[in-house]
Amino acid sequence: MTDIVATNETILVVGGGISGMTAALEAAETGKNVVLVEKNPALGGRTSQLYRYFPKLCHPTCGLEINQRRLKNNPRIRVLTLAEVTGLEGGIGNYTASIKIKPRYVNENCTGCGDCERAVETEVPDPFNYNLGVHKAAYLPNAMAYPQRFVLDPAIIGTADADRAKAACKYGAIDLDMKEETIQVKAGAVIWATGWQPYDAAKIQPYGYGRFKNVITSVEFERLADIHGPTGGKILRPSDGKEAKNIAFIQCAGSRDENHLRHCSRICCMASLKQTHYVREKYPEDGKSTIYYIDIRAIDRFEDFYQKVQADASVSFIKSKVAKVTEDEHGNPVCHGVDTEGYKRYTTPHDLVVLAVGMEPSVKGINIPGHIVADSSGFIEADPSNGAVFGAGCATNALDVNRAVQSATAAALRAIQVVNKVAKAEA
């Protein structure tokens, strides 16, 4: 991307997930200059870690490819990765953001050839796979990574491994002297699209996440099904690598619960319904899914997807919030509870338990520079006192991808309305 000097007509987009990318692209394709800030080394955010989307079961990387092509062809967008906004001064039409940029230790000379990866020996947990697997300390964040540029893990800086990486690179792309820097960016409006994080499942004590290896979260399950995941797309359970064919999905793991998240996270029901497809896809003969739920929230046109899954004999639905999970002598997680439709008790062992963990806004707890109005769950609320800082996507509400993109598109217009005024004012 050509370096643009940010002016007040520039729109600053914080977060490079599907919402942030959408907001940035829609604004840029309407002729505005955009600075897109992402804290990870590559764009794509949480959707790029999903195996398939509901309800079409298509692949998120497909839309990501298009968005990346839009990005590559659009000089109006300046992308900053490994970058976080640490301060925001000023007001409507005239903000100055301080952006902290972590060193990548790899410069634009990188061709993505992978020689450094082959040279280093250290392996570190792979956050793209929720640390279910490891990758080399010199790595391409993922196969679809944009920018398509390698990263050195800070852990090896100052070690022989770093020197090995540097020696292996024929193109002078490795720069071990890179330092963390903080830059200032001026912008007329800011779009806050920092997305969500999965609720910490360890806090839901009765389900034993962290105590029992074969209790995992729904986001981790996505990685198990994905060909780029730690198991190469096989659904194997963590404890012993055994094929997990009889899988329990526990809904509202953290959501709709005053001890955890008070709100409903909206996507989890559809996500679990979708994940039953993974089970059938991988084990067409003897795959078995059980969904423990309070209400199935297959909202609006997603209903027919729910009906299809209901018609599937390999999937059973039990209206019950599981009381607790224990582990039997074979390491099988066992669900204990009561089917509330006519009081039927159950104590059912499964190969694997998947917790449909709730959505927690990433803004929650993080102190957004400047004052931003948030609701009781920590989602950004639209409010005049937010000035020209507009929330987008899951930073504003528990949304599915479709709604997040709508929200981001709307946010882009709100930002444009501000910078258009600025432009007029300056002209």
């Binding site: 004590q205 009765p206 034993g208 105590r211 607790k324 224990t326």
Partner: protein
Amino acid sequence: MAKHEYAFYPGCSSQKGASASNYLTSVESMCKTLDVKLTEIPDWNCCGASIGYAEAGELPRHVMNARNFALSEKHMPGQEIVATCAACWLGARETRERLTHSDTLMADTREALKEAGLTINEMPNIRHMVEVLIEDLGFDEMKKHVVRPLEGVKIAGYVGCQTNRPFGVDGESFENPQYLDKMVEMVGAEPIPEYEQKVTCCGGALAFSEPEKAQAQIKDIVESAYDHGAEMIVTPCPLCQANVEIYQGQINKTYGTKFNIPVMYYSQLMVVAYGGSAKDAALNGQVIKARRLEEIAAKPVKR
């Protein structure tokens, strides 16, 4: 002047000749070692326990506990109330919560207390002895006094319900509290952290009224202790201790098991580890004798 002073609420079961008299004995000698001064609330009364509900109703139940608060305030103003019995602690603590959150209830309570010539001005803190040990003294302080570590003794920490839910010990989880295991470790014995029955209910008062129901639950608790190779079970609750210990014989009859595992109080372990005699630890108070502890208690103290 002792390091720590509290108003003490021993509760009915701890009285001389009552089901948890051994608990009290061991607590007294434990406190002597730790320099903790407990002053019994004069003329304290029963907390009503959770089982009293059929006749008690709401206000009378709280009034019973409030009377103890009032007496404590009158005789030991400003002191926190410490209970050793889980039920006493829970009952008193529940009353405390309710009265602090409902002005009507508070007013009604004061009105009733007047009849006994008493009143409450400020709410006392209600602490369980375990809380005092962990929060006010801390494990390091407790460990300092260990002169006779219970080496090689495998002990299942059975926490039970009422010291754990709904309030519990600060920072502990409802499903997998760790503090008993830490105490076992602290006295030099071997804890069993993976003991999964540690918070299973012992049946509580149903042990009296509907023994077969309660004993089914007790069986699981004891069985799993055996499965994990425990030599004894330790608990902070008198009802847990009694239920798990005294019905083993009957359970053996019903289920053909061969249960015979001692069930101790944390305080008894500590007294022995602190160099106290079998008598100080009231080991004679066990229905199922803790031979292993008796042996250790007979050994000379390492200095």
